[in-house]
């Protein structure tokens, strides 16, 4: 048996009675199991819960009860998105025993529409990293070449979608964590406008940058799932209180010849691999519409700015993992020592490195020089992007400066690793929607991603344009 490829096809096959939810789920779990020894995409596979849910859905259909918009669609969830009763570890030893008492809003909305959660995917610890090597549960490998990384931090979600085990997975994107692994694995990664998907139940890394995103084989599948989980949530004061355009799906037909695209030269210059640049330029040449090269020198400050703001916020967000109420505790008769042992033994090196950076840049005497300056720089970069998007509809660039690198290749040099985010962080600064779609392969057969950034709140048009471009690029 083979499952239809597209989410929309799976859902309609189930609704039409061509296939049962049980069959879909069993097939999916089989496929996951087959790939796991090779790629390690999951921290928890929720086989029993998924089969129970499938059973309920089959009953529901048999009894002609109304079926949700995502009926029987298998979905994998990044392990930093809270699932009630299902272990949620953030790939950290400190939460290795944590079973949450509630559901993230995004998960709640998936379940309300009858999606089936098949497992929790691997990631860099607390979403900090660009390779999914910083996981307490081992690295995830790229299904296209298992000697290479899947990217990160949502590496598990990208890998499981790329291995065709699930059509859709949720990830989170703070500086590129959905788009970069999607690019490395040759799939679609969509980060919506900040505030479009509730962050309630997304374990915070850098709250002002974090956004849940969708990884899928194609743009329409991302759009389908996005339309379900997006929208205002009173539990998240930063979520945007304006309705999602309805009906959101199917996407609009866009006449690309009437779209204006900007390509910042800073994203095609130094630091961008030759071959990647060539593939991107080739892809651009195939697009109709007005494509103009622009220059935004402030963009070159993006990575240093990101590596001040994100660690600052995370150093505060991760303070709650203190061994007092939940998670792992190292016992001691002394309170301070209990804190120290718990945190030093159960956070990984990358997390500890960033806690130290973040604590430093917020401490008195350094706050003005680092955090405040970075916040100002962030505003300047955001404004530059917003200004550009007044003149242009979209900004195009490579998603990543290189294709997937080898495991271990950049572990020794954090700064080198941080440069993976050179093209992606700026979207998070300004809260812009951004998507990565595959646009070609290098000589090793490794995929290259094209990043499209749009105007805030222009998610629908961004997805529609991405859908058109995807069509053009897939034609030979």
């Amino acid at each position: 048996m083979k499952l239809p490829g597209r989410a929309i096809e799976i859902i309609s096959a189930f609704k039409e009675g061509e296939i049962s939810a049980r069959e879909i789920t069993e097939w999916t779990l089989e496929r996951i199991k087959g790939w796991e020894p090779k790629i390690n995409a999951y921290i928890t596979i929720t086989a029993a819960e998924a089969l129970r849910q499938a059973e309920l859905l089959d009953q529901k259909r048999k009894n002609n009860k109304p079926l949700g918009r995502l009926s029987a669609l298998p979905v994998a969830i990044k392990d930093n998105i809270i699932t009630k009763g299902i272990k949620t570890t953030c790939a950290s030893r400190i939460l290795s025993n944590y079973i949450p008492p509630y559901n993230a809003t995004a998960v709640e909305r998936l379940l309300q529409e009858d999606a089936i959660i098949v497992g929790k995917t691997n990631m860099d610890e607390f979403a900090m990293g660009s390779s999914t090597e910083h996981s307490a549960f081992g690295a995830t490998r790229n299904p296209l070449d298992i000697l290479r990384v899947a990217g990160g931090s949502s590496g598990g979600s990208a890998a499981t979608v790329a291995s065709l085990a699930v059509p859709v997975a949720l990830g989170s994107d703070t500086g590129g964590s959905v788009r970069q692994p999607a690019s490395f694995c040759g799939v679609v990664g969509f980060k919506p406008t900040y505030g479009r998907i509730s962050r309630f139940g997304l374990v915070a890394f850098a709250s002002s940058l974090d956004q849940i995103g969708v990884i899928s084989k194609n743009v329409t599948d991302s759009a389908l799932v996005y339309a379900v989980i997006a929208g205002y949530d009173p539990h998240d004061s930063t979520s945007i209180n304006s309705p999602i355009e309805s009906p959101f799906f199917p996407l609009d037909n866009i006449d690309l010849t009437r779209s204006r695209f900007a390509v910042p030269e800073e994203f095609l210059g130094e630091g961008i691999n030759e071959e990647v640049r060539g593939i991107i330029l080739n892809a651009l040449s195939r697009l109709p519409g007005k494509i103009e090269k622009i220059s935004l020198p402030v963009l070159s400050y993006a990575v240093p700015v990101y590596y001040i703001i994100a660690p600052a916020e995370m150093s505060s967000n991760l303070a709650r993992y203190d061994g007092v109420r939940y998670g792992v505790r190292e016992n001691s008769e002394d309170l301070i020592e209990m804190y120290e042992l718990t945190r030093s033994r159960n956070f990984g090196d990358e997390v500890k490195r960033r806690i130290m950076i973040g604590t430093f840049v917020l401490s008195s005497g350094y706050y003005e020089a680092y955090f405040k300056k970075a916040a100002q720089a962030r505003r300047i970069i955001s404004n530059a992007l917003l200004e550009t998007l007044k003149k242009y509809d979209f900004i195009l660039s490579p998603t990543t400066p290189t294709t997937a690198f080898r495991l271990g290749e950049k572990l020794a040099d954090p700064l080198e690793m941080y440069l993976s985010d050179i093209c992606t962080t700026v979207a998070n600064f300004a809260g812009l929607p951004a998507i990565s779609i595959p646009c070609g392969r290098d000589k090793n057969g490794l995929p290259v991603g094209l990043q499209i950034m749009g105007r805030p709140m222009d998610d629908r048009r961004l997805l529609s344009v991405a859908n058109e471009i995807e069509k053009i690029l897939s034609e030979g």
């Binding site: 944590y98 949450p100 709250s207 009173p234 539990h235 930063t238 916020e313 150093s315 505060s316 303070a319």
Partner: protein
């Protein structure tokens, strides 16, 4: 050398909203430990705060009453530190731009009224509570998170206070104001109205402030005054003997009668404040302020002035009566039925205050209602009761929850003001006390009060004191 004392107070007032500041849990934390909690106030991974708008309304009311300027936009911030009663590892508070600034409270001092300026008012969340069992549990400390997320207003004064007495007057006025607004229970012992003090001294006339020290654990007005007085003496002694004041935080130990240092400047934490990314800026529309102005009751100082003017009562009584909104309401209810306002005021500030205190009651649950009190006083004024029987009737009214009329008839308390009846009692007393009468005649006139006492005793206090005195005097002159 003469020194000038400089004091500023930081007050934390818990707001009496139904639910917590960032989640839907009840603010009642006197329930069994960890029962009014949820993933949000427990700081579980992934949770976010959403601001309770009632808290904002209460803050607006406080700012109006304290004549502070409400910032049209204020921001929340995180104050980061580790402690087991702080689930998120940070407190959500306000820092760079607080909710309101530049308020003031007027207090009475020996030299007249004085303004104590308020520097800022900010909105924040309370932490939980730790319990260190003294026996049994051994190494463990218990944490109760019920109080986590109870809304607080932090009200910070300028260093305008010059004596312990001024400090407690300021604190009393502030507490009274918040209670009038109905936004804070104001019970210091229970911790819903807490105070820290910053204090320094400087040579009289000097421009430069001395090194300030912070006093904590000032759980009552008395503790506050005691602690400040102790600290002033301490600082004077240190400076007087050529020493240097160390910047320290101290906790007041009332039992020992001294302040104990808990941390120095060197060991104080760096709170690493930064803007709270989970909460948008707090915008306050003019319209909202205008709406809430209607909910501001007459404030204590306004009411004091009005009561003095309207009822002609003494300033001192007005102050006592207005100490609580409920008591002032009680007084005015009485005053609407009876126009001897001074007598009313006198009864309330003596008899009622005494009984409230003795029985640990609130005026709202006091069994003698205004109409009952008025009836009692009317009967006193009409001569049906004398002061002592009226007092007696009053306590019985409270004990048995009865009206004045019921008590007077049941206990036969009507005053004897019948001349003939009293005359015969006076005669009886004088004949029973022949020995004393002899001594009186021999010139020991101070025995008059003894005879009067005997008359009162014989009538169980019901004799009209005035008439009894007159009749006794007449009889003794006759003899």
């Amino acid at each position: 050398m003469e020194y000038e004392v400089v004091i500023g107070l930081e007050v934390h007032a818990q707001l009496t909203t139904e639910t917590k500041i960032f989640c839907g849990c009840s603010t009642n934390y006197n329930t069994p430990p960890n029962t009014n909690v949820c993933p949000i106030c427990l700081g579980h991974p992934g949770v976010l705060p959403s601001l309770n708008q009632r808290v904002v309304d209460f803050a607006i009311m406080a700012a109006i009453a304290l004549k502070a300027t409400i910032n049209r936009v204020s921001y929340f911030a995180r104050k980061n530190y580790f402690y087991p009663d702080l689930p998120k590892g940070y407190q959500i508070t306000q820092y760079e731009v607080p909710f309101a600034v530049d308020g003031a409270i007027e207090i009475e001092t020996e030299t007249g009224t004085k303004q104590i300026r308020i520097r800022e008012i900010h909105i924040e969340e309370d932490a939980g509570k730790l319990f260190h069992p003294e026996s049994g549990a051994g190494l463990y400390t218990f944490v109760d998170m019920n109080r986590c997320g109870v809304p607080l207003l932090e009200i910070v004064s300028y260093p305008d206070i010059r004596s312990p007495k001024e400090a407690s007057n300021y604190l009393k006025r502030l507490r009274q104001t918040l209670r009038y607004l109905g936004i804070c229970a104001g019970n210091m012992e229970e911790g819903n109205f807490r105070c820290d003090a910053n204090i320094s001294i400087k040579p009289l006339g000097s421009e430069k402030f001395g090194t300030k020290r912070e006093l904590k654990n000032l759980n009552s007005f008395r503790f506050l005054e005691n602690a400040l007085s102790w600290e002033i003496e301490y600082q004077k002694n240190v400076l007087g003997s050529g020493g240097k004041i160390l910047q320290e935080t101290l906790t007041w130990d009332e039992k020992e009668g001294r302040a104990i240092p808990i941390r120095s400047k060197e060991t104080s934490s760096d709170y690493r404040y930064f803007p709270e990314p989970d909460l948008p800026p707090l915008h306050i529309e003019e319209e909202r302020i205008e709406k809430l102005k209607w909910l501001i009751p007459e404030l204590p100082w306004e009411r004091e002035t009005r009561l003095i003017r309207q009822y002609g009562i003494r300033e001192y009584d007005a102050e006592l009566i207005c100490s609580e909104r409920g008591i002032a309401d009680y007084f005015e209810k009485c005053a609407s039925m009876f126009n001897d306002y001074r007598t009313l005021a006198n009864w309330i500030t003596t008899e009622i205050f005494r009984e409230l205190d003795r029985r640990n009651l609130k005026i709202e649950s006091f069994p003698v209602k205004p109409e009952d009190l008025v009836e009692l006083i009317k009967r006193l004024k009409a001569g049906e009761l004398n002061l002592s029987t009226a007092r007696k009737a009053f306590t019985i009214m409270i004990d048995e929850n009865k009206t004045a009329a019921q008590v007077i008839s049941e206990y036969d308390l009507v005053q004897i003001s019948d001349t003939r009846e009293l005359e015969s009692i006076v005669d009886a007393v004088l004949s029973e006390c022949a020995k004393e009468l002899e001594r009186y005649k021999a010139g020991k006139t101070s025995l008059f009060d003894f005879f009067l006492g005997q008359v009162m005793r014989k009538t169980k206090g019901k004799a009209s004191p005035h008439l009894a005195r007159e009749l006794l005097k007449k009889r003794l002159e006759e003899i």
